[in-house]
Amino acid sequence: MSPRDEAPASVSADAHECERVANMLPPGWHNPQPDGLYQLAIIGAGPAGIAAAELAASLGARVALIERTAIGGVNLNTGSVPSKTLIRTSRIYADMRDAPHYGADIPVGVDIDFVAAMQRVRRVRARLSRDDSARRLTAAGVDVYFGDARFVTGDTLTVDGRTLGFRKALITTGARPHIPNIPGLAQAGYLTDENLFELTELPRRLLVIGGGPLGCEQAQAFCRLGAQTTIVQNKPLFLGQEERDAAQILSEAFVRDGIEVRLNTTALAVRMTSGAKLVDLLSDDYRDTIGVDAILTGAGRTPNVEGLNLAAVGIDCHAGGRIRVDDFMRTGNSNVYAAGDVCLENRFVDAATASARIAVQNALLRRNRRWSAVVVPSCTYTDPEIARVGLSVREANRLGIPVKTFTIPMHEIDRAVTDSETAGFVKVHVRGRTDRILGATIVARHAGDMINEITLAMVAGIGLRTLSCVLHAYPTQAEAIRQAADAYNRTRLTPRVRSRLLRRIGS
């Protein structure tokens, strides 16, 4: 954690935290003594590093896994796991608030218990940390080292005073929150996803700087947990990677939740007055100042490449710090690969693990698997969720691919109506005048689950014609996908086809 970060109210060392720490960074851990050449040395034990180590060990390779702080990386300790756990609790409160919408009464005496919510976060985190513990990895045949790794030559590195020889190396050191350069922010203190989940008290007023997935998810969660929440985004819409309709539905959901939405707005400066953080905001020519108790930031990520001595072994980086890799996940040094957030533009856990497995196969088995052939879905876990896979219409247009979108609003789906979850849509993009799926965007309460069907179809080369033949359990929200396929099928009924069918019916 950076020394500039907010000092959250201290977390009592409860049993869950003790278990997690024991799993992630066992007390009294002794690094093994290297015994000969490693066939694969992996630097960084986040999701990508763990996936790579498990695969390499299962192939029978001698593997070293080196971690600077704690096994599990951002995902388990500060990222998706705690974030989604807290979001679930916030949804419970939102559902209770919306009870009259479902013909139910709002339960009497609903007080938000933030401490209990955060306790649950720690319990879940401890539970999931068992799968990725240092001892379990060791039992699987992985030599786990704790310490700072540094390349010495193209086939050696040092960690904790030891020199490790390797045939191939894989860098999976991930990325950390990028802190915007706002005067006064460091002095006033701020939260990032690295320390947000250590909070034990709910900030009464929260400012979220940045309208990417992290900012949007946490702004909604904290608002639903009772914080007066303002979100500022220096662009015209949230979630710049998503399509306009998805971002607009999210903006509307935020307004309904009571989040103060400030688009096209920049945070200029922060100062402390009487214990409150005063933040100067600028929206075009309109300046104002808001008072808050906490600031959450960390829009974007900075790759963790410092101290690795990359240049000395011929590994170069993009301008933003990402390690430059080719389509086979190989760096500028042909013995060294990289995977996950440290080199990918799309920073998702599933992309990190998939890229790591490709790197391992290419490094150890001399395969030529390409990253560009992988279909990567992603999801922002707001309510409604926003999930995407494949090409967007914008990307298809830029590539000169004719594209047509089959859209089913969720209000057309019986199960969405029965559940009063009609905000959103399924949009499936196909190549013009064919049923070949190029990509899709789904906005729905459970869009993250629904997108998997489209991903499967894309990987298996299944088109909309076949999808329309797949019975979907009724009533489910995933029926929207079949309805999109049915809509495609109806477009095949041109007047000529129809008259031919009529002739057949007549005969």
Binding site: D284, D285, V393, T407, G432
Partner: protein
């Protein structure tokens, strides 16, 4: 155009004349500027001035206004803009040939810290060109009128508004420079691009338009193929000036459609949405629809932080994803007339019969909300009238009845050149103009 029953002709005549009467009433005769709406202290909207300039030829043709008076109204506005403060200061009228969105009706100076608006300037210039095309006599006044329009059009620096980007910026303010509202997706900007591409002095590059169309989405929604845009006005505002029947850009050629057909599809989608009425608002059905930019009820409480909103005030309402708070716009339905009269006329009759309270002083209110009915069952109705509503209604009824405004712009060489540069081909663009394009 097809003949309609006398009862419809009479109704249309009545509604169109009432819309026309908004402009003389809302105009400052000293400078030709027109109020945005009929409420007290309303500022001028430059887009409404553009609609007024197009309304005067209609008024003359329909016998509602003497030609000399119309010329004087147009001249007053043109002379004002010709001599207006173009310094771009915070209290000027414009900059680089563009104008601030809202102006003081007496001094013509910028108000409300409004932005220098590219699309609203385009609507103003569109009105100027229509007037210039219509007032074609050799009298000194009409000659001056045409010279002024030519000067004002040539003065607009469309290249500057591109700001080095792929597409034209939406706005600019002296306090902060260009605004960064996204131009993503189909919008009402075709007229803006046609004028910018056809400029004899500061044209933008042709691929600027193509880059904009790369953000389009061609969708199948409710089994209807459509270039999607949620609010109805997007399917009308360029169409009021330009006859899109049979002319196609590269995008529409590939889709085997055109922007006129597309507006017809948008009407069908609006109607389908209202029939399904997913949010269960009162009044909605296949003959009661119209989600667009309009005035509606508001529950905004500026004194309360983080209040939950259900009503959106003046907003661009949209199908099928919203915002939708139960507010509908009769003007946007009526302005759809040329695209689908067989759908629009029954809808207008039905809405006016069921909600006569939306018809005030003979003119249509901007928005009404039947879900928020009073104890007598009367829908919530927006107070007064908005110039944009009256302008688009007047122009679209006229295009439906006589195609007069379409004919005027079809004859304009700048608009023809701009459309051609944007890649439009076919239809009337292939024919030479009747009297030699000006």
């Amino acid at each position: 155009m097809a003949q309609f029953p006398p009862v419809d002709e009479a109704l249309l005549d009545q509604l169109q004349r009432a819309a026309f009467e908004y402009f003389p009433k809302a105009t400052n005769p000293l400078n030709g500027l027109v109020a945005d709406n009929s409420r007290v202290n309303s500022p001028v909207s430059i887009a409404v001035v553009g609609f007024a300039l197009a309304a005067y030829p209609v008024g003359v043709e329909r016998g509602w206004m003497r030609r000399d008076d119309a010329v004087q109204c147009v001249l007053a506005a043109l002379r004002f803009f010709r001599h207006s403060d173009q310094s771009g200061s915070s209290t000027a009228t414009g900059f680089k040939g563009f104008y601030y969105h809202f102006l003081d009706i007496d001094a013509g100076a910028r108000v409300w810290h409004s932005e220098l608006s590219m699309v609203d300037t385009a609507l103003l210039i569109g009105g100027m060109l229509a007037a210039s095309q219509y007032f074609d006599s050799t009298s000194s006044d009409e000659s001056e009128l045409r010279a002024l329009v030519d000067f004002l059009y040539r003065r607009v620096d469309w290249q500057w508004a591109q700001d080095g980007a792929d597409t034209i910026r939406q706005g600019w303010k002296p306090e902060c420079g260009f605004l960064h509202y996204g131009w993503e997706g189909y919008s009402e900007a075709i007229l803006l691009y046609a004028l910018a591409l056809g400029s004899p002095t500061h044209p933008i590059a042709g691929d600027c338009y193509r880059k904009w169309t790369l953000t389009y989405q061609w969708e199948n929604l409710y089994d209807i193929d459509c270039l999607y845009a949620g609010p109805m006005f997007i399917h009308q505002f360029s169409h009021a000036w330009i006859d899109f029947r049979g002319i196609r850009d590269e995008f529409m050629r590939e889709k085997r459609s055109d922007y006129f057909e597309n507006s017809r599809s948008a009407i069908c989608i609006q109607r389908e949405y209202a029939r399904r009425n997913p949010r269960e608002f009162a009044g909605y059905d296949e003959n009661c629809w119209g989600l667009s930019a309009c005035d509606g009820p508001s529950d905004e409480r500026p004194d309360l932080p983080n209040e939950r909103r259900r009503l959106y005030g003046y907003a661009a309402r949209s199908v099928p994803y919203g915002p939708d708070d139960g507010t509908l716009s009769v003007p946007c339905v009526l302005a759809s007339l040329p695209f689908a009269p067989e759908i629009v006329l029954p809808a207008v009759r039905s809405m006016l019969t069921r909600f006569p309270e939306t018809w005030q002083e003979g003119r249509l209110a901007s928005g009404f909300n039947p879900t928020l009915a009073d104890t007598d069952g009367h829908a919530w109705v927006s107070a007064g009238h908005y110039g944009l509503d009256q302008g688009i209604v007047l122009m679209m009824i006229e295009n439906h009845r006589s195609e007069r405004l379409w004919q005027l712009t079809r004859e304009n060489r700048h608009i023809r050149a701009g459309l051609h540069e944007a890649g439009f081909r076919g239809g009337w663009l292939q024919q030479s103009s009747s009297a030699g394009a000006r």
